[in-house]
Symmetry: C2
């Protein structure tokens, strides 16, 4: 059985949607059992079926907009997030899923789960939808704002294993996010990464990729430093939100437009679902001791279930174990 720890109290709609997501996951996935961390009394209200679900009392919920994440993790040992994360090193779970405050989760993961032995820098890797229905792995979406190019080799390799084993892409290729497609484009940093990636045989390197093909890139993995990839992610998010508002405004600005929107309602909903994070799953933190999945803060039950499914896939396919083996086999990277 794969054991998944769930931070039941983190998220805009916690704990209701998290608990419903957990029950849904138990129904749909045979080989998992769930440890649910949260306020026992509140959980009791929503947990209508406790098959393969164990509840562990952890009353405090770290607030969603937590401004001082490290402080919060250190102070609130009784929080659902801290108790859930701590369970990984105690070997009580194989993965943890949380839709709690992002910065607190990252800080908590680094303090309580810590890195995989020999893995230099973690990376946060959300999935972004492809126009053709597939997915692209984006990293590092914010774990390390600046990083040594050589550490990105490990991160890209991790993404490759994840793409192969979880996304079932046979020969995933890696693209370097850049402002132009030609060799030698970008900052000195980008040029160094390009050179390293060109020489490696750890993965297939596609070359430079501009974010103007963000929904249709010629590769499966898009990588840059944690500042740049975070800016890409937030720009895409902003563009999608802004365009949706403008589209709605224009569509409903006339009588005929409103009728049209009504006829097209189901299709518009399908479109929304296509680009929705709910459908796709959460962001995985690469390079930790064990998997931590950050589901969207606004997750509803189905979105949270998708995060659990993702966690189960990662464990079942031994993604972390495979990378751990590789990291241990290579001794050529200098210690920090």
């Amino acid at each position: 059985m794969i054991r998944i720890g769930i931070d039941a109290m983190g998220g805009d709609y916690a704990p209701k949607e998290q608990i419903q997501g957990a029950m849904l996951a138990i129904k749909k996935i045979d080989d998992i059992e769930i440890n649910l961390y949260g306020d026992k009394d509140i959980i009791a209200k929503y947990l209508t079926d406790s098959t393969r679900i164990n509840v562990i009392d952890a009353k405090y919920a770290i607030p969603m907009g937590e401004k001082n994440p490290i402080q919060a993790i250190k102070t609130h040992k009784d929080s659902s997030m801290v108790v859930a994360l701590s369970s990984l090193r105690l070997e009580e779970n194989d993965a943890v899923v949380s839709s709690g405050a992002t910065q607190a989760l990252i800080a908590g993961a680094h303090l309580l789960v810590r890195r995989m032995k020999g893995f230099k820098r973690t990376a946060i890797a959300p999935l972004i939808p492809r126009a053709d229905g597939g997915q692209t792995i984006l990293l590092d979406a914010g774990a390390n704002l600046s990083i040594k190019p050589e550490y990105m080799l490990q991160q890209a390799y991790f993404a490759k294993i994840y793409a192969q084993k979880v996304l079932k892409i046979e020969n995933p290729s890696v693209g370097l996010i850049n402002i132009g497609t030609e060799d030698g484009k970008g900052r000195e940093f980008d040029q160094e990464v390009f050179k390293l990636f060109k020489e490696t045989d750890l993965f297939t390197f596609y070359g430079n990729v501009e974010p103007k093909v963000i929904f249709d890139p010629p590769c499966d993995i898009l990588i840059s430093d944690g500042f740049t990839a975070n800016i890409v992610m937030k720009s895409v998010e902003g563009a999608a939100k802004g365009l949706a508002i403008m589209l709605k405004k224009h569509l409903t600005s006339t009588f005929f437009g409103k009728i049209g929107a009504l006829f097209a309602k189901k299709n518009l909903m399908n479109f929304k679902q296509h680009v929705s994070a709910e459908e796709i799953g959460g962001a995985v933190i690469f390079g930790l001791y064990k998997p931590v999945i950050k589901a969207q803060g606004a997750s509803k039950a189905y979105g949270f279930y998708n995060g659990i499914r993702q966690a189960a896939n990662i464990c079942r396919e031994k993604v972390f174990e495979t990378v751990q083996e590789y990291v241990e086999s290579q001794k050529d990277l200098e210690d920090e």
Copy 2:
């Protein structure tokens, strides 16, 4: 009369759309005259009204995807782009508009127009639409991939004058593109810029702004280094294109959806126009000796006309002269 030089041969639909755009501008704007640079024989085919339009023969057209821009500028002295740009230092024009190859235009502007005296680093500043119908100035969209924080003071000041005089925003505020809104967010570079901007009285500093509000920012100007702002621009472009493709696919995937799309056709067109670069105008290069406007490569007549209108506004409102005065008045920035 404001004299505007036009690179008639640059652009995906050149010279036809450029010439039609020029004639439209002459009709709509009273105080301009146009110098049209291009192949005289080809121009003669499209120029049906030469009122206040003077044609100067320059036969070579620098190709749109030019891979070696500096080389192209240096070699092709007879190109429409080179002759047009050279006219500025010769005091033959007050501004130049081109929809030719971006990198060649930037290289040409630096070689042939050169910087305003005392202006440390130029910046490319496109306008991006706001959801509420306004516009945001984005810079630097790619002139300097890395830059000293103190040089960004001049760039932001330039943007402020442009916003005041051309966009008619009374007290424009400047936001620093960042991965979080709190003070102290971002790379060391961003923190330095933040500190400088916080202390300056050259313009109103809003603080850090995340690109997830790219279509609805709480400020009028969004600034970062040339790498980051270019990544934002390309991410937004990519998201808009990708979402449009997905929307179309979903809308027309069923019979009812098709009917709906038909009813909403006019509204969908309005939406497209709202976010279209055609409607908004080109990117201005800040900090040159005189204004160079880069209209979209795919400009049609109306889009190109908008670039000309923008150039005329900049000249009429003495944007460059105002900044020049300020730069001359301050001697505290060290020489390079």
